[in-house]
Every structure is written in C-alpha cells, then in structure tokens.
C-alpha cells in the first residue's frame, strides 16, 4: 500500500518534471533566434548580414540594420585598438625570454655537478661509518683484553693472596680470594689457558684450585671442631666463610647441626626437669605443654637470632634451608615430649576406655569426665603452641623468600610457597599434633555427652523460676567444650566439636526434652470425665493418666504440671541459647582469623555453625508442638463446656428477661472469671513470650467454639442485643490479656452479632456490598443467611428473597 503510494508520488513527480522540461524547451525556442543572430554577428559578419540585407525591403528595417552594423563596427574597431596597444608589451616579454635562454643552460650544468657531489659525499660517509664500526669493535675487544688481563692479574693476586692468607690462617681473607676467583668468568680463564701464556695461568689455576680444596676441607674441619667444642664465635666465623666458597648448603647443614645439638641438649634438660623436678601444683597439670612450649620457643629464638647472619652472608632465600635442618631436631624433640606425655598421662589408655564406653555403651571401666579436664586442656594448649610456632616459621620463611622473589617468575614464587607449606604441614611435629587432636576429639565428645547427661540427670527446678538447672548447665558445658576446642587453634578440631555439639543438642538433649513433653500435661479428674464424654480416644488416654494419678497422687500431678511448663520454658531458652552460642562463637572465631586462617577455613566454620543454629528452629518446632499439646489437653476440655453453657442461656428473650440479665449476668462474666483462673496458672509458670502464644491459641479456640455454639442458638431481637453485649465484654477482656490483635480473630463473630442485631432482614443491605464501606465481610452470603435464620422473628421467605 505504502509502496504503491510512493510509486504514484514518484510517477507524478516524473510527470511534473517532464512538464517543466517542456516549459524550458519552449522558452529556449523563443530565445533562440536573437542568440543565433548575435553569434552570426561576431563570427561571420558579412556573409550573414549580406543575405539578410539583400532580403530587406523596408527602409525602416534597413536603417535599423544599418544602425546596428555601425554600432558593431565601432565595437570591433575598439577591440582592435585594444589588441594593438598590447603589442609593445608582448615584444618586451619576448625579448626577455630570448635573453634567459643561455642562463638556463648554465643552470642545467650546475645541477648535474651538484648531483655528482652528493653521490660522492654519500659514499664517503658510508666509508667513515664502517671505519667507526671497526673502531668500536676494536675498542670492545680491547676492553675484554684489559678485563682478561685484570682477571689474570687478579688470579695471580689471588693465588699469592690465598697462600699468604692460608699461611697466616686468615681464612676470611683466603675465602675472599677464592670467592674472587670463583666469581671470575670461567670461560675467560678457559680461554686464557688455551692462549700463549697457558703455563703461567695453569700454574696459578692449579694453585688456586688446590687452595680452594684445601680451604674447603680446612674450613669444614675447623667448623666441625668448633661445633664439637660448642664455640659459638668460631662456629659463626666459619659458617660465614662457607658461602664465599660456594658451599651454601654445606654451611647451613653444619650450622644447623650445631644449632640442633644445642637445642637437643637444652630440650633434654627441660624434659628431665619436667619429668623429675617438682614444679608448682598449678603448672604440674600443664607440664608437657610447658615443656613443648619451651622447646618451640627455643627454636623460634634461634631462628630469630640467626636470621640476620644467614641473610647477610648467604643472601635471601636460605632461611628455608636452615629451618629444614632445625625442624628435624624439633620433630625429634617434640616426639620425645609427646611420648612422655602419652605415657605419663595415660593418654592412649584413657582414649581406649572412652572408645569402649562410647561403642558399647556400658562398660566395666568408666572414666569420670571431670578427670579428663586437665589432660584435655593440656592437649589443646600443646596444639595451640605448635600452631603458633608453625605460623611463626611460615611468616619468617615467606618474608625471607619474598626479598628474592620480587623479581622472580610466578612459578618460582609458587614453588617456594609450596615447599614451605609442605615442610610445615607434613613435618613430624604437625603429625604428632594431628594424632593428639585425633584422640582429643572423641575424648572431648565423651566429656560433653557424659557431662550433659549428668546435668540432665541432676536437673533441679526451684519454685518461682521459669527454667530448670539443666538448660543453663548444658549450654555451659557445650560452650566450654567448644571453647576448649577453639583454644587449640585447630580449625578442624573446632569444626568437629561444633558438629558434635550440634549432634548432642539435636539428638541427645532434644530427645530428653521431647520425652518430657511427651509425658503430656496432666489433666484433673473432673476434666477427664468431661473429656471422656467428648471423645472415646481421650477417654482411653485419660484413664491411662488416671491410673498414673492413683499411684502418684494429687501432689505429683501438680509436680508434673509444673514440670511440663518448665520444659516448655526450657525449650524456648534452648532455642535462644543456640542462637546466642552461635553469635559468641562467630566473634571468637573472628579473633582466630585475624591470626591468618584461610578463606576455606572460614567457610568450613560458617557451614558447621549454620548447622548448629539450625537446631534452634528444631527447638522452636518442639515448643510449638508442646503448646499445641497444652492447648488440647489443658485448655480445650475446660473451655469447651464453658462456652457450650451459652446454649443453656436462652437468647430468645423479652424486655423483662433482658433486664434481668442486665442485673445478673447469666454467662459471660463467669466465662471471663473461668478463663482468668485457667490462664493464671500458665501466666505464672510460663515465660511471657510462651504465655502470649498460648493465649493466642486460647483466643483462637474461644472464637471457634463461640462461632459453633452461636450457630446452634436462636435469638430474639433483644437476644441479639444481649449477645452483642456479651461478645463486647469478652473481646474487651481478651484484649487486655494478650498483645495479639483480638479484633481480627473475632471479626466473624462480631459480624454475626451485627446481623443478629438488625431491625429487619433487609437492613442487612445497608451494610452489604456497595454499602459495606470500610467493613470487610468475613462471612459468605450463605453464612449471612444462616445467621439471619437464627433470629426467630425473621421470616425465612424474607431471608430467601435477599439478594446478596
């Protein structure tokens, strides 16, 4: 469509164009004749005009042509004169051109000469530059020659120097000479030997090599001697010489050996002192942790004091090698300490007993959890010390590597990092600690489970208190165990204990509480009868419970009631305590992470903690179940008959009865009193939050039961008014006892009261549909009809006729 339109437009434009071109053609034709004429005037005056003239017959025309011709003649003459005037000018120009001719030839010659000159200069320049290159080459060679000469001179100097120095036992000097020799370009020396003066150089070299060998042997011997003597000054003196001879590894190995022997003797001394000596009572419990600490601190101090020497004389990156040597001794000594610890503390045996206990449940031999306290503490302390020590070593080695790694390839940096990690993670010390922790975890778990079950067994409840001792005790124990695991600085150990705590809380402890709730809230005998009437199932239940009462008596029923309420409070506190515990642990762990644990470790702890906090909601579910149970066993059987007693109060009343009700309230006041009494027990025994939830359940029950009951009644106009009054009193009372919004729960009942209060059936239409205003009807049209039908004075035809 659009396309077509465009085409049309285009066509019409074409059309108009052709129209305009036609127009132009016309105008051209009109103008063509005078133009032609003029062209003839200028190009071929006589021929054309002659024909024209001869054709002319009229005088007037002739005159006109004549005049025209005269004018033209004048013009031509004028033009001719102008051209003639220019002739002189032209002549001068031609003249000057003629004069320029020879000059141009000259310029041509000059130009070719210049070109020749440039070519020559160019080749000259090339020549010169090649000479310069040759000169440069010569210069560098000369420098090399000088260097070589210098080297040879140095070599000679070194040769002489080494010998004198060796003679004077100046090993530092000798080593300096050897170092100079070693740092000479080996290929140059090789070349020199091939050259003319080979014999002299060879001799020097031989001397030097011999001196080098001698010096190496000598220095090693002297160092060994010094090591044997324990002469630190001499040890350090010779230790410094090794790198000059290119024997970094050997030097570090011997020095490490020296330091190890020092450490070993000190450590043995400490261990002997620990086992034999009588330290104070207080430290005796931590004897082995202390001994291990002394060992590790000793090594750390050695590293700290000797790091500068290694850095200065060996350069960066060599600390790792020294520490590798030291760690071997550390592992040996730590093994001894740990072995002694295991033996003296009967560690493995304790573990075995516990293992048997946990596996089979009952066993002849048992360990009092309290007895484990000191050993558990000692183990965590040992691990914490080892972690601290390993962290120290990691920091030192990494910073030592970093100096040299600044320019190194990333691959090498990673390699250094990996070798440090490998050394620290797989050293015997780490392995020993992992083993100790491996035994620690089941022991701590045993400690926790046993102590928790003891706390449960010893549960006491003091009158007037909402919760019993069990909750606080259990959380104290759990927190203590996790904190102890945390104090070991081992993330895996901490996570394992968090997992076990989750298990203890979720299975063991929750089971205890669950079983207490399962025992149910005891009902009183009167209720039992009522319940028995209402349902066969509860009859069976109550008879069972009655049986229990007979043996236990009323007092024990009271105790059981209190116990149930206390358990509910306990459950709530548990769920809160778990959340608190998680928060506390999070902030405690944050401290651990500032000491440099990785991101993966953080994720592990977070995951374990989130499992822990999930148990909190399981306790919440339990609380909910408990409240439902309380509602069904203690509240519902009481409230139901109170509300159904509404049926016995006639609401089909006249003025007289209405007034009498006004004077002596027949039902609602008693109900309120009853509810008040019923709830008073719970208000005293339950925490405010739980009580509030229970009240909410109770009000739900009341509104539901009321609704059912009202639908079974019949009302007169005044009966409706009476019901409205009663409902208002009830809602007013319930509003005072709970923080929940009551009005919403009673919305349906209130609307029923409104309907029962109508003057006429059709009055409902003033409130219904478009007239409802802010009121939202909770009753369906069918229900509205049902309620209207309760009024005996409303005719069913009217109700049927209603359009709702």
């Amino acid at each position: 469509m659009e396309l077509e339109w465009n085409c049309n437009q285009f066509r019409s434009r074409k059309f108009s164009e052709s129209g305009s071109s036609l127009l132009i053609r016309h105008s051209l034709m009109a103008e063509s004749s005078p133009i032609k004429l003029r062209r003839c005037d200028s190009a071929c005056v006589s021929a054309v005009s002659m024909e024209a003239i001869s054709a002319l017959t009229e005088l007037e025309d002739l005159e006109k042509v004549y005049l025209q011709l005269c004018n033209e003649e004048k013009e031509v003459e004028h033009e001719l004169e102008k051209l003639m005037g220019q002739q002189a000018n032209m002549d001068t120009k031609m003249l000057s051109l003629h004069r320029m001719g020879p000059n141009l030839q000259l310029i041509g010659g000059d130009a070719s000469q210049l070109s020749g000159m440039i070519t020559f200069t160019c080749s000259l320049a090339e020549n010169v530059s090649s000479k310069v290159r040759q000169l440069d080459l010569a210069k560098t060679r000369l420098y090399k020659v000088i260097q070589r000469a210098d080297d040879i001179l140095d070599l000679k100097f070194c040769t002489d120097g080494v010998q004198t120095a060796l003679r004077n036992e100046d090993y530092e000097q000798a080593a300096a000479h050897i170092h100079r020799y070693l740092s000479l370009d080996q290929s140059v020396i090789e070349l020199s030997r091939q050259g003319g003066e080979s014999s002299a150089v060879d001799a020097s070299l031989a001397t030097l090599q011999e001196a080098e060998q001698r010096l190496k042997v000598l220095v090693a011997e002297r160092l060994d001697e010094a090591v044997a003597k324990g002469d630190l000054a001499q040890v350090e003196r010779f230790f410094k010489i090794f790198p000059l001879l290119g024997l970094h590894e050997q030097g570090l190995a011997r020095f490490g050996q020296y330091l190890c022997s020092q450490l070993a003797s000190k450590a043995e001394e400490n261990l002997l002192l620990a086992v034999g000596g009588d330290l104070g009572e207080r430290r005796a419990a931590l004897l082995f942790a202390d001994t291990l600490t002394l060992l590790l601190e000793g090594i750390a101090r050695v590293v700290e004091t000797h790091q500068p020497i290694v850095e200065t004389y060996y350069g960066p990156g060599y600390l790792y090698m020294l520490i590798t040597h030291l760690q071997q001794e550390c592992d040996r000594q730590a093994q001894k300490v740990v072995d002694k610890f295991i033996k003296q503390r009967d560690y493995h045996n304790k573990f075995q007993v516990i293992q048997n206990n946990m596996m089979k449940g009952v066993s002849a031999e048992r360990i009092e959890p309290r007895e484990l306290d000191p050993v558990l503490l000692e183990v965590t302390l040992m691990n914490a010390r080892a972690e601290l020590y390993l962290r120290f070593l990691r920091r030192r080695m990494m910073s030592d590597f970093e100096v040299g790694d600044a320019t190194a390839l990333p691959g090498i940096v990673q390699e250094h990092k990996d070798s440090v990690e490998k050394l620290l993670k797989h050293c015997k010390l780490s392995q020993l600690m992992q083993e100790l922790i491996g035994y620690y975890i089941p022991m701590e778990e045993y400690y926790m489970r046993e102590t928790v079950s003891k706390a449960v067994a010893m549960d006491t409840y003091e009158k007037g208190q909402l919760t019993s001792s069990m909750v606080d005790d259990c959380f104290y124990i759990v927190k203590k165990c996790i904190s102890r695991a945390l104090s070991s600085s081992s993330i895996d150990c901490l996570c394992a204990m968090i997992n076990h705590s989750t298990s203890v809380l979720e299975s063991d402890f929750r089971e205890v509480v669950y079983n207490k709730l399962r025992q149910g809230f005891p009902a009183t005998t009167l209720q039992d009868i009522q319940r028995g009437v209402s349902s066969a199932v509860s009859l069976m239940q109550s008879s069972l419970q009655q049986g229990k009462f007979n043996t236990l008596g009323i007092d024990s029923a009271e105790v059981a009631k209190a116990a149930f309420l206390v358990t509910l409070n306990n459950v709530e506190v548990c769920s809160e305590n778990i959340s608190t515990l998680k928060r506390t642990l999070e902030s405690d762990c944050a401290k651990l992470f500032t000491q440099g644990a990785g991101a993966g470790d953080q994720a592990k702890i977070d995951s374990c903690l989130s499992d822990l906090v999930n148990t909190s909601s399981k306790f919440k579910d339990l609380l909910q179940e408990g409240l439902m149970e309380l509602n069904t066993t203690a509240i519902k059987p009481q409230v139901k008959p109170w509300i159904s007693s509404f049926l016995s109060i006639s609401h089909n009343i006249e003025e007289e009865e209405f007034n009498e009700y006004e004077a002596n309230d027949p039902w609602v006041q008693q109900l309120i009193v009853n509810l008040e009494q019923l709830m008073a027990e719970f208000k005293a025994g339950l925490s405010p939050v739980i009580y509030d939830t229970l009240t909410s359940l109770m009000t739900n029950l009341v509104s539901m039961e009321m609704e059912k009951t009202v639908l079974k009644c019949t009302f007169s106009r005044l009966g409706g008014l009476q019901f409205d009054k009663e409902l208002r009193s009830l809602v007013a009372y319930l509003t005072t006892v709970t923080t929940w919004t009551i009005r919403d729960k009673f919305a349906r009942l209130t609307q029923m009261a409104t309907i029962l209060n109508l003057e006429r059936v059709t009055e409902i239409l003033d409130y219904w549909g478009p007239n409802s205003g802010p009121l939202t009807w909770r009753l369906t049209p069918a229900e509205v009809r049902q309620v209207l039908a309760l009024r005996i004075d409303f005719r069913s035809e009217d109700i049927k006729r209603l359009r709702l």
Partner: protein, 216 residues
C-alpha cells in the same frame, strides 16, 4: 516463639539462591583419589602430585537439575587414620556418602567393611551411600575386578560406579546422579511428612533432617 516467625523463616530459605542443599562427604582410605574426584568435579582440574589432605576440605558447587538449582556442599576428608575422629564428626549431617576405593589397590577394597562399620555407627540412617572405584585409567594395574565390587556393593545395597578423576570418566555422572537421587528422596520425605502431619495433628511428628530442602 510465634507461628508467624516460623512461616517467615521457611519462605526466607526458599528465597536463597538454591532449591536444594545437600551435604556430600567423601570417605575412604588414604590415596584412593578423593581429593582428585572433588577437584575434578568442582574445578575441572586434575592436579598431579596431590599431597595428602589435612583434616577436611570443603567445596561448593551449584548445579542445575531439571530446572532446579542444587547446591552441593562437598566435604573432602583425609583418609589417614589420625584424622578419623575429625571426619567422623561430619557423617551425621551428611545427606550422602561417597565411599571411595582404588581399583588398583586391593588393600583399599579390603578396608571397605571397616568403613561400612563407621557409617553404621555415625551416619544418619537415611544417608545415601555410593561405592566408587577410582583410577580406572590405570586399567592394566587393576587388582579389584568390577564384578567383585559390584557384588559387594549390591550385598550392602549401595550404588556402584567406577570413575577416573584423571580422565574425567564418570565424575560428573557420579555427582549428578547422586544429586538426582537426593532430590527424589527429599521430595518423598516431604510428602511422607505431610502425610503424617495430616493423619495425626498435634502428635509429635518426625522432624526431617532434610527440612531445609522444602519443595517449591
């Protein structure tokens, strides 16, 4: 405390970036290739010369199965004896266990009953266990015949799969099949729970350990 807050918490769980969260724990002797299986699956790597795992490692991978986002929390444990008590503490909360052995190492196969005893003792009764024979790329060194392993797995009512972390054989399948099975079980579980809840209101209903995995 109040019923509304519980409802709110459930919707909040659903608003997180996954529909299901499962914990999978890998166990088995040292050096059978647990870490390599995990790294192959989570990072697509096969690091040669993998050192022994210290304690436990923890990785997360979210996969999509039939349009549902499944977050797999994979716990890679150390096989060495001294870490046993650490790894044991993870059994109870695991939805699935991957019991791994090395097909080229008879010893690692012979230890399986011992591992099963551990599972019996520490794990949840509803846990899904998969037996995995790793290192099938070293077929010429095989010491444990496939049929033998299959029979063993069947006798213990375990799933069985042979994998190669190096060649990436069956690794995806292992974890994805497991995720599918866990989803099925979780759905079944919620269904059962709803049934019991409907049947006996007010009566103490079993609380699912998979309650975090409520269906949408």
């Amino acid at each position: 405390m109040n019923p509304l807050s519980i409802v709110w918490e459930k919707t909040r769980v659903n608003m997180e970036d996954y529909d299901y969260l499962f914990k999978i724990v890998l166990i088995g002797n040292a050096g059978v290739g647990k870490t390599c299986l995990v790294r192959r699956f989570t990072q697509g790597l096969f690091p040669p010369g993998q050192g022994a795992t210290i304690g436990v490692d923890f990785m997360i991978k979210t996969v999509e199965i039939k349009g549902e986002k499944v977050k797999l929390q994979i716990w890679d444990t150390a096989g060495q004896e001294r870490f046993r008590s650490i790894t044991q503490s993870y059994y109870r909360s695991a939805n699935a266990l991957i019991l791994t052995y090395d097909i080229t190492c008879e010893d690692s196969f012979r230890c399986l009953p011992e591992w099963l005893r551990e599972i019996e003792q520490y794990a949840n009764t509803t846990v899904v266990t998969v037996l995995v024979g790793n290192k099938i790329d070293l077929a010429e060194k095989r010491e444990v015949l496939r049929q033998r392993a299959e029979e063993f797995a069947e006798s213990q009512s375990m799933l069985y799969l042979e994998t190669s972390a190096k060649e990436s054989d069956n690794v995806e399948k292992l974890f994805l099949d497991l995720a599918c099975k866990l989803i099925r079980e979780a759905k079944q579980n919620t269904l059962d729970n709803n049934d019991t809840a409907n049947a006996m209101p007010g009566e103490g209903k079993a609380i699912s350990y998979l309650s975090c995995c409520s269906t949408n």
